[in-house]
Symmetry: D2
Subunit: 339 residues, 4 copies
C-alpha cells in the first residue's frame, strides 16, 4: 500500500503514523521530496482498511498495491482450479456446455429439451424454477415443482442440473437436490446469500453483476470461498453500458483478465449478453476464442411460446448447429470438450 | 403497445395476429404502407409480455407505449404520497433529514451522534447494524446487538430509526423493532427481499441500484406495493459511471424524473454519491434545489476512526453547519422542513 | 509517482532504474519488503510518461501522485480565475447567464430572442451558426450568414455573443466577430481545434465531452492554455450513462470537483443535459446550489418550430420565470448575478 | 415512425396533424383506444425530424421505426461491401491485417517494423505521423516528416499505408500520399473532418468513438458516404465503461450487430481495446471468431522505448506468433486471409 502525505506535514506527525504502521507488523519505506512525502507499506496489507487510513488527518491519498483477495488469487494458487460435476469438468483445459430453457415450464418441455441438448453434446442441464423478474406481474417461475421436474429430467438423461437460488431459506433444499447452484447477476452482491452458499458442498456458478468490476466479482467469489466452498465457477453474462441495441455488452476481456487475476474457471452466457437468438453463435465463438472454460446457453423447444427470454433462446436444431462449431473450435484453442 | 410487422408479411398472417390481440380484449389499429405494416394496441397492455410478442415469427419489433407499473404510477395517483414516521414527514411539501453513522459501533457512539443530529434538526436517526461490505474481511456490522443500541438511542432522543435489512429471515425482527426499513442499493433487485418487506407494515426506504434505470427502480417499488406495502420512499444515491474521481455519480435528474413518473417521495444520499465528506454539502444543496423531499446524511463523531465510510462522514459540527443551509434553502423551494 | 517493482527483481536491476530516475533530477525513495519493492519519485514528474515507465521490464505497476496539468491547476494558482466579456463576468463570485436559441434561424428570430433574454437578465447571447448534427440529412446551421445575424443582434442589444466553432479554418473569422468561442462536447478532444483556439484572444467556452473524465477535460483546457489563451470557461452539459430517460446525465459533482482541482470557472448547460424543457429549471437550480458560476440556457420564441433542439428549449416566458428564481438563489449561494 | 398522441387530444387536432403528415406524402394509420391514439407513419421518414414532431403540442412521444441511414443500410444494399487497397481486400469474405507502430519514430524503426510485419503476413502498414494525445506535453507525432518515412517504408515493402488525419487542412496532403485515411475515435463526430474525407478518393477507416452507439457510428459513416466516398471501413476499438482494469471494453457484439445493420466491412483494434500487450491475442482471436473482416495491431520493435503506447504493442516476434493463429482461425470462420 502506498500512502501519500499532505504537502507540509511535519516530520513528527509522519513519524507517529510510521510507528503506527510498524506496530501493525508492516515494513514502511519513506520517500522525502520537496513538498511531498510518500510512504510505502509492505507486508500483510489485505486487512488494512484503505478508507480508514485515508481519513488520517495528514494523509492526502492511499493507493492499494496488492489485491484484496487471497483464496481466489492466482498468485497464491498458480494452477487452474477445475470444477467437476458428474462427468462434466470445467477449467484446467476441460470445456463443458450447460444448456436448457430459461425457465422450467412443464415435464414435457424440460425432458424434451434435456434429451435434445444432451444428444447435441451439452454436459449439464440448466433451467430456472425460481426466476428473478423485473416486474412483479411477470411469470415468477414454477417454484419447487419446477425443481422436481428438473430432477426428473436429470434422471432420464443423466445430465447434472444447474439452477438459480434466490433466497437463503432455500439453501437446504438446493443442497439436497441441485448439482450446481447458480447465483444470478442481480444477487452477485447479496452477501447473505453468498455466505449461505459458501456453506454448501455443491459447486456455485457465480454470475457477474450488471455493473460490477472484475475485482468486485472476485471479492464475491472470495465471500463464498472464505465461508468454506472453494468450488466456484465465474460466469460473464454481459455488462450494462450506454449501448441499447444489445441487451447487455458482452465483456470478452473479462476472460483473459480473470484468468490472470484468479485460478477459478470462467464460463460465458452469450444468450443473456446478446438478448437476441441470432447473436448467440458469434458471441459463443468469440468467448471460446478468448479462452473461456465453458458456455451456458438458453435452448427452448418452442421459443415463441417460452414463458421468458424466448427472444434469446435457440431452438434445439440451432443449438445442434452451434455445437458442431463449438466442437471444432474448442480443440483449436487447446481445450477438450467434455460431453 | 406498437407492433412493427416484418416487411412482406402476408395479409392473412397479419389478420391471425390481430385476431389474437383482439381476443385478449385489446383495440388494434392497423397502418398499412409500402413494405411496412404497424399495429397499434390499446387497452390493458401492462400484462402483455413484450419479449413474447417480439418472438412472433412475423414481428420485427415491439415498442411499449404505456408504463409497466400501476401502483407507483402518477397517472393513476396524481397527488404526492406522504410517508409519516413519528413526527417526521417525507413528501407532499414536507422535508425531513435522516442522519447518523454508517454503522453502529457502541452505545456511546450511537447515542452521542443521535443527540447531536437531533439538536441540529434531523428528524430520523440512521445507523447500520447489518452492513453489506464488498470484502468478507471487512467489518460486517454489530448485528442484532447493534439493533438494540439503535433502539436505546431512539428511546433517549425520540428519533425514529432507519436501518438496513439484508436478509428476508430478518423481516420479523425488523417489523418489531425498526421504524423505517432500508433496502440497500445492492439489493434493489433482490426480489425475495422485496416481497418480504412488501408484507411489512413499516415504511420502506428503497435505494436505487448502482446501475438501474428509473423504470427498474420504480418496478422494484411496485414489487413492494403489489405485496401490500404502499409506504415506499425512493432514495437516489449515485450511479456507476466511467468517472472515478467520485465514488458514484449523483444523478440529480432522477428527482424531477421520478416526480413526473411516480407519486412516491424521493430523498437523496449525498454521502454515498460523493464518497468524500467535503463534497456532501454542495450535493445536498443541489438535491434540495432539484426538488427532493429529504436527505440521508452520514454523520460520525470521530470519522478517522469510523469502522466504515469515515471518509464520507460529516462531524456533528459540520452537519450542524450544513443544517443551517438546509433550513434556509428548503423553504425557498416551497417545502417545509420537519424537525 | 510511485513505481511498484515486480516481485523477485534483483537489487542491481533496481539500482539501474533508480539511477536512471535520479539522472532525470528526481528524488527517489526506496521501500524494501518481503517480495516487494516500491519506489517513490518526487520532483517534476509531469513530463514523465507513465506508460513508458510501466514498460520497463522489472516494473509491475506505476501510479501517478501528482496531477498531469499545471496551468489549470489550482495548486499553482489558488485564486479563482474570472472571465470578463463586456459587462459579463464569470467566476470569482460573479455569475452570468448565457441564453439564446440552439441555432440562428432568421433575423427576426435571433433579434427577438436576444431582446427577450436580455430583458429577463441574460448577460450573453448564444446561438449556433455552425451546428454539429448526428445526421448529414439534418439542418447544419445557417453558416456565415448566421454569424452576421448574431452580430446584428449584438448591436441591437449590447449582449456579447457566444457561438460554436467546428473547424480550425474558421479561427480567423471567429477571432474577428465572436465574443466567446464555444468548443462543443464532440470536439473536446479535437486537439487541432484546441491548439487553434489556444492562439485566439477571445475567451473559450469548453464543453465537457460526453464520456470524458474530469482530468481529461482539464487536460483539454490545458491544451488551450499551453497555447497561450488562459481565458477558459468549463461547461458541464451531462455525460452519457445507461439511463435513457434523460438525453444525458447531468453530473453536478463536476462543479465542486473542478473547483477543487482547478481555478477555472465552471458553468452548466441544463438544456442539453435534460433534453426536455420541463426539466431545465430543476437542473438549473441544482447547478447553482452546487456552486457553478453561470448557466447556458436554450431559449426559442417558437420551440415547436425550432430547427433543432426545440424539445429542450424554453419559451421567453418560461425563461423569464426561471430567471426570477435564479436571481433569488444566486445571492443565497454567496454569488452576484451580473445582468 | 410511430406518434403517440396525448390522452384526451381532440379529434379535430388529431385530424390537423394527420393532414400535415399526409401532405408530406406519408401514409398515416390511426389506432383509437380508450384514452390513447396512436399514429403510424409509413413512407420516406428518414428526413422527418423526430424532435420536431415530438414538440407538437398534442404529441406525447415519437418512436422511430426505420433506420435514419440510407447509404450504409444493408436493407438497401444486401451484399457485403469490399474495400480493396493494392493487394489487400477487406470485407465480403476477405480478411486483411493492418500492423505497425503507434507512431512513426525514425526511418530505421518504421522500415524495420514494416519488413517484419510484412513477412509475418500483414497486408497493410499502420503508423501515426500526427498523434492525438490527451496531454499537450506528450509527444505529438513527427508530423509531415513522419508521412515521408511511411512512404519510404511503403516503397521498400509494397505495403499500402494507413495513417490518421486530424485536421481538415491536411486533406489534400493525405489524398496525395496516403492509401487508407484513418479517422480516430475522438474525431468520430468531428463532422467537418467527416465532410472533408467524404470528398477524398481514398478508403476511410472510421474508428468508433469511445461512447458512441452503433447507430451514431453508422451515421458518421453516412456523412462520409453522403459526401461521395463510399469506401468506408468501420473499426471497433473498445468503448468506455466503468471497468478500469482494461483501457477500454472491447465490444465484440458490435461485429454481428453492424453486419446486420450495414453492408460495410468491420475490423477490430484489439491493441487499443486492451491497453496491455498480453491481452491482444485473446481479443484478436475473439474478434475473428465473432466474424470481423480484419485486424489492426500495434507492433513495435522495441516496446519499452516506444514514444507512445508501448505497453500495448507486440514485438515483431509476438506478432509473428499471433499471425500463425490468425492464419488458422480465419479460414475456419469461412474467410480468406489476404497476405
Amino acid at each position: 500500500m502506498v500512502v501519500i502525505m499532505k504537502p507540509g506535514t511535519k516530520k513528527e506527525d509522519i513519524d507517529i503514523l510510521v510507528r503506527k504502521f510498524r506496530d501493525q507488523g508492516l515494513d514502511v519505506g519513506i520517500t522525502n521530496g520537496v513538498g511531498c512525502t510518500i510512504l510505502g507499506l509492505v507486508g500483510d496489507t489485505i486487512s488494512l482498511d484503505i478508507d480508514k487510513i485515508s481519513m488520517e488527518p495528514n494523509v492526502e491519498r492511499v493507493m492499494r498495491v496488492q489485491e484484496p483477495y487471497k483464496k481466489a488469487n492466482r498468485k497464491f494458487h498458480p494452477e487452474d482450479s477445475v470444477v467437476t460435476v458428474g462427468k462434466a469438468r470445467i477449467g484446467g483445459g476441460s470445456f463443458s456446455v450447460i444448456a436448457g430453457p430459461c425457465s422450467v415450464e412443464s415435464e414435457e418441455q424440460i425432458c424434451a429439451v434435456a434429451e435434445d441438448v444432451k444428444s447435441s453434446g451439452a454436459a449439464l442441464l440448466r433451467g430456472g424454477a425460481f426466476k428473478p423478474r423485473t416486474s412483479p406481474y411477470s411469470f415468477q417461475g414454477m417454484g419447487t415443482p419446477g425443481l422436481d421436474l428438473l430432477m426428473e429430467a436429470r434422471e432420464k438423461t443423466g445430465l447434472p442440473i444447474v439452477t438459480e437460488i434466490m433466497d437463503p431459506r432455500m439453501a437446504e433444499l438446493f443442497e439436497r437436490e441441485v448439482d450446481v447452484v447458480q447465483v444470478g447477476a442481480r444477487n452477485m452482491q447479496n452477501f447473505e446469500l453468498l455466505k449461505e452458499v459458501g456453506k454448501m458442498s455443491k459447486p456455485i456458478l457465480l454470475k457477474r453483476g450488471l455493473s460490477n468490476t472484475y475485482e468486485e466479482w472476485i471479492m464475491s467469489a472470495e465471500y463464498i470461498m472464505a465461508a468454506g466452498n472453494e468450488n466456484v465457477i465465474l460466469c460473464e453474462r454481459g455488462i450494462r453500458t450506454f449501448e441499447t441495441f444489445t441487451r447487455n455488452t458482452l465483456d470478452v476481456s473479462a476472460i483473459p483478465a480473470i484468468k490472470q487475476m484468479s485460478h477459478l474457471p470462467v464460463i460465458v452466457d452469450p444468450s443473456h449478453a446478446a438478448g437476441m437468438y441470432w447473436m448467440v453463435e458469434p458471441l459463443a465463438m468469440a468467448a471460446i476464442a478468448a479462452g473461456c472454460d465453458g458456455l451456458i446457453i438458453e435452448v427452448h423447444n418452442d421459443p415463441p411460446h417460452a414463458k421468458c427470454d424466448g427472444q434469446q433462446s435457440l431452438t434445439p436444431k440451432k443449438f445442434d448447429e452451434l455445437m458442431k462449431k463449438v466442437e471444432a473450435l474448442v480443440p483449436m484453442m487447446g481445450k477438450k470438450l467434455i460431453r
